[in-house]
Subunit: 336 residues, 2 copies
Amino acid sequence: MTPTIHDVARRADCSIKTVSRVINAQPHVRPALRERVEAAIAATGYAPNLNAQRLVKKRTGALCVLTSTSEYYLAPDVLASAIDLARSSDYDLLLHIDNDQPSSRKQLASLIAGRRLDGLIITPPCDTNPFLTELLNHHPLPHVFIDPFNRDNASPYVATDDLVGARDLTTHLLDIGHRRIAFLKGNPNLRASVDRLTGYTQALAQRGIPFDPKLAANAMGTFEGGYNAVRLYLSGGTRPTAFFCVNDHAALGVLFALQEMNVRVPRDISVCGFGNHPLGARVFPGLTTVHQPVQEMITAALRLLLSILGGGQPASPTLLPSALVLRGSSGSAPGA
Amino acid sequence: MTPTIHDVARRADCSIKTVSRVINAQPHVRPALRERVEAAIAATGYAPNLNAQRLVKKRTGALCVLTSTSEYYLAPDVLASAIDLARSSDYDLLLHIDNDQPSSRKQLASLIAGRRLDGLIITPPCDTNPFLTELLNHHPLPHVFIDPFNRDNASPYVATDDLVGARDLTTHLLDIGHRRIAFLKGNPNLRASVDRLTGYTQALAQRGIPFDPKLAANAMGTFEGGYNAVRLYLSGGTRPTAFFCVNDHAALGVLFALQEMNVRVPRDISVCGFGNHPLGARVFPGLTTVHQPVQEMITAALRLLLSILGGGQPASPTLLPSALVLRGSSGSAPGA
DNA sequence: TTATCTTATGACAACGTTGTCAAAATTGTT
DNA sequence: AACAATTTTGACAACGTTGTCATAAGATAA
């Protein structure tokens, strides 16, 4: 039988309450007794029963990261630090993949309406899922957004400065002689997509280069989208000298298509992505991109959530900086 | 205040036990009363308190996938089906990234010795982590291995038939004319690494081609390992006509190095990986590889674990088939 | 020493479920 | 109609903690 607090108390010849005090590092236990209890804990191999604690403390002890399969690269190593952080605050970190399918909805409802969570971290594009909004309306739950579409929202959030990142990268391309830079747009329901496009146009405007709508095509932010966009572009008349893609997935599609068509990158055409997905460092040539601190965003969001749960004040939104990552896929414009 | 079973009972004018019966779909409730209770549940928005249930049922309600950051591609979409499956059996699926660092160890100990889990799924190379073994020795916990190093182990496991996969791919390379096929080895503590090498040598043997130890170099199963191995090989005398890498990570490193050195793939040298990591479909040329059904392995392992927890018999080990995935990175041997 | 204040300790009732078992209600049998 | 057999229902004690509050034990002051 696994030992309970009673076994420890009996062994240390004291009350269960005293053991409880020792476990929870509470004051009002004399050193001698404290030691006796600690010895008893060690001897019995006692560990407090989580469910009993949670029951009386009225906490579920679970937080959840709500994510869609598509947008972020949430591989375990990215999550590791968040899992770590959560556990050190005595929370389990769950993961829910919200694909808006019936089964996913049902489970989401069971999580939220079933009061199985203490808090929620919502990554895009889940923040624009009306089913979720509805659910949260009826069943209030502390939550934090990552990169939400609507920043005027009352809920706290963490985001990257996509606009500046995109502007900087575009400016860099202009600096190395590019004048015809195509922008491959993404999902317009994502804050990041919109901001990146804005950053692109702002950079052009700063150099007095008119925005040419023909240079802004839709790639849906997917590999296939990027791939198809290139096929379309290169069959047309004037080529761009660079493709700036709303994210790395699209950029990899572009790269693939160009290499397939024997277009030399970056000699003939430069390719840039956004996000600094690990894949970008594995393809040849390495993908020039903008680093988006996904891991930092998640841990920042979790920290925010924990501070809310801890009764802290509703911390102010955080904007994390992005940073250029220059690799082989970009270079001077042909003839520049 | 969130409603409890008492609120429902009061409203339905019956005992809490009856409500409990209805919740748990147990017999011995007359239809009329059952309906009244259901109405009361709907009216109050009642959902049972998980911790109370788990406390009395003596379950933690948590399973954990133990993974190392390196070996498998456990992105959320791969985990999605397992998370789904777990939740439909009323378990939370946790994730622990075991990097054998002090902090990771501490948390692993807290999970296992603290009896915070009902079961464990262990992915390689965690199965060879002595700290874990020790921990499980002292604190027995139902667990299932994925691709364990030692298959004679008493614990049930799920694995892929790496040997056959590697043999098939090697045979394919032989079929299209390759004779000097380099094999880039991986972590010798991984069952998969060993089996893949064996598959390679078996295929050679079947065709009467002697195994040349010079053609078997160590790439550690990493991108950098593959990259460095190529640099080493190509500076030497006779080139291989194909590189068969223990996994896709190494293969991507090989591909990168070759492209950097202007070696044409597959015209000059073919490159193959193992695992069918999503990256392999995103690079140009697409990576020829062997599909390893990671998602199926995880769900199979979970199903096994659930059946054990459900008191089923210790189901027999499962070997899932692998399958060739031929893409652009492999082709006929030069001059063949 | 005695009165007073502070600090330690423990009894006992929560927390919200499910399991056990006895009692009540219903059904079937003669 | 009376009795037995069955089904339905509920009272109450678990489960293993923490919080409340009363009391016991020390420390301090006179």
